[in-house]
Symmetry: C3
């Protein structure tokens, strides 16, 4: 359904000021205790998946159900035709519908659109522009929620922030080690980007460790350095995993693909073969300061992290996953406020 | 769930007398203003897709959600086994279930069945009989709603009627031009048939333009001529697009496939290649009388209609799409009335 | 959502004592008369399909809808990654997630998990262990409901029991003939196993007829013989279909695959070709004692059973299918009881 005023979107977590974030997560904590139904009776969120998802889809579906609302799911593989996105295009090709028309019509049916885009994976210079999610936000007249784009995964960072706030009385000043880990199928760096941005805005001190060739996007790094400078906290990079974890309060593990071999699977596999020792095990975790272990899942056990760490009392991974649900409910209540 | 009395079906819009249509659309208009939830708590509509759909599926799902009910979706590609439909068949072939048993059991579970059939596309003489949708209506004991068959698309015509009634104080006597437009993938004529039938029953004067070889089904045309004669309104055909639109109050654009090349893609493509100039542009629309532009979507921009027309104030296409939702809600309230 | 105490599961119908079964089915009968909505507002059942389903999926979706709750569906083909299930595995293969992590996280989102497993179909000795469903029950912290495993189909047996109780004032002592019937695609014996176990626990006298080579699993048979001995009722096997049906009150038809040719489609097809005369027709049914006809569907008409029998007044098949809905609603109310 259409709103008279311009809708709020969530493309990056940074789109929300910290005060708003705090209000949202306060509500998330109260929803965790008492999942008040029926706020969203008769309301529907459209979930548009141009790439697959499991945790994100289910946690959003359940979030709406628990609040008395519903979701509809649109999956590129089975439901979608190709969508044209060039302005003024003469549409004699494969795409029978323009994204502006799809966004306009969907906005008449649903109360928000959550979108997971599928970058072409040919050129990082193109994909890093995140044009797809911006196009949906431009044409939709209901709030657009980013369920993961090339650069950002704000819903994961929102749940991670909730988890950190539950764990520490005060997060500012805490030391976080972000450690690249090996995986035969590394994810994108979107989760890492959103986590780093959130941690720095909360004045946490950040150390990043990764093998050579797995440097993060230089444009994103410049942005993070600015946040760190403004907030007066540390942002160290280029470290070994041992250097990064020493004295850390939190170890956040994540596998991301190399931008140097982006779009080249053969080269990427060759480079990856030399990173087998990048795993979080007991010894590494113990070099922190009673360090908690975090991971956004899915997890390849005994490749990314040892069973011993994952099943330890220090592991927050199931709590992070559960908090996806509560944080998203609070976010939906924030974005879909009725005019009334 | 089963009903004691024979259920109401909606196979053609014609199945509903105009007085009933008016009551339904009056309710649709009040639902557009205030989408009253919870009429359908605990009720479910089964959506059976033997062919894909996007607008129809989403608008029906949202319609049920907004009224407090639910849908279940059954998609031929992934969910269905083949269904046998011959009476007395010895079922030793691919089909492990008879449509009469599927319809009987589904009727015990859901409160209505909406069906989109997939004609075989080998022979128009066979497909034009619309046997599939009739079979579901025969065996189901709950209302059956046609989500598009070979011949009819009543849900689109219902929304189109709502849109016309919102636009004109009086629709009787208005001049409607139905203009065939070029598309690399023309649709079936089902939308056109249902729209024409509805317009004539509402005493609108109709002009039809299409390239040679794209004549509408002769049986359907005979039926339309009878309606026109009975209602005392004009039904002109075989016109150029310029002749049809001259003085029109409404231009309804639609691409439909040629019956002369039905089931023969090579011939169809060859014929289609000679129709590239069939598009609605500003100049054509301006030859009408402040003519509104209508289209049932999806739309190939700058092939079927120019950006200029589609994005103009005269374009009703988004309203048509939105009215699918409101009109369907009113229709469901009409068909699924509780016995109380 | 997680529960403090250990959740109730339903893997085999035998997991529920007869007194509990009677309470559940009493509630099912009252739900059949008055489908009270809104008990499950805000609650969600996760449906995990490692193999397809139609009746089971729809009846569970509608069951939750009618009680004010929701389902989410996860289908192996489209939604799932492979799941690792070995303890301590080094996960460098295809599976990017361990079933223990998937079960733990899903348990934080949903209120129950219903699972249909897909046995590997290579070795019956392996598949008969039913490891998959046991693994889900071990790792989930919410109730796990078996939607059909290699050995058991408790939801069908629950509905069958409801149907028998509606039909007979007293089921104990009634004579049931379980008759193997021919089908080009025989099902597993899971329905047969659960039905037999339920019938014997209710002190019905059972006769089983099947062609040579279609003997039931010897381990299951030993268990059934123990039940029969304890309950003091008859369990006869190795009969011709005429011997089994003579004097029977109920004829339960089902096609199941041969364990001797398990995992060998060529041999299985060859053996199957000699069983064409195994069908339930009027003459066979009439040799019973006003025998009712039962079948769990889907049904190949005039192959498994003649039209004449299936469409007769003695046929309970649509009632069995409908009772899936009511019995499952009562079961969900039993398993998902709120702590409150």
């Amino acid at each position: 359904m259409q709103s008279a005023t311009s809708p709020k979107n969530l493309i990056r977590l940074r789109d929300l000021p910290l005060q708003e974030l705090d209000l949202i997560l306060e509500r998330a904590r109260s929803l965790k205790l008492r999942p008040s139904p029926n706020e969203f009776a008769g309301q529907t969120v459209g979930l548009l998946f141009f790439r697959g998802s499991l945790r994100t889809r289910i946690s959003l579906e359940v979030a709406m159900h628990q609040l008395g609302g519903d979701t509809i799911e649109l999956t590129a593989a089975s439901d979608f035709w190709d969508l044209e996105d060039r302005e003024g295009a003469v549409m004699d090709g494969r795409a029978p519908e323009h994204v502006k028309d799809a966004a306009a019509v969907l906005s008449r049916y649903v109360d928000a659109l959550a979108v997971r885009t599928a970058p072409g994976a040919r050129s990082w210079d193109v994909d890093r522009r995140d044009d797809e999610i911006a196009t949906w936000a431009r044409y939709a007249t209901v709030p657009v929620i980013n369920m993961e784009s090339s650069l950002w995964h704000p819903l994961q960072a929102l749940a991670d922030r909730m988890t950190l706030k539950e764990e520490f009385a005060e997060t500012a000043g805490k030391r976080v080690a972000v450690v690249w880990v090996h995986s035969p199928e590394p994810a994108s760096a979107a989760v890492t980007h959103s986590f780093l941005d959130m941690a720095l805005r909360d004045r946490m001190n950040v150390s990043i460790a990764h093998p050579q060739g797995y440097e993060l996007d230089s444009g994103v790094m410049r942005g993070l350095e600015e946040v760190a400078a403004k907030k007066g906290c540390e942002l160290r990079t280029g470290l070994s995993k041992e250097e990064a974890v020493e004295g850390a309060d939190v170890v956040y593990a994540r596998s991301w693909q190399s931008l140097e071999t982006y779009g080249n699977p053969t080269l990427a596999a060759s480079r990856l073969s030399r990173t087998n020792d990048w795993m979080v095990d007991r010894k590494l975790l113990d070099s922190g300061q009673s360090a908690r272990f975090m991971h956004a899942m899915p997890i390849r056990r005994n490749i990314e992290v040892s069973d011993e760490v994952l099943d330890s009392a220090e592991s927050l991974v199931y709590t992070q996953a559960e908090n996806r649900l509560h944080a998203q409910k609070a976010l939906l209540l924030h974005l879909l406020k009725k005019q009334a």
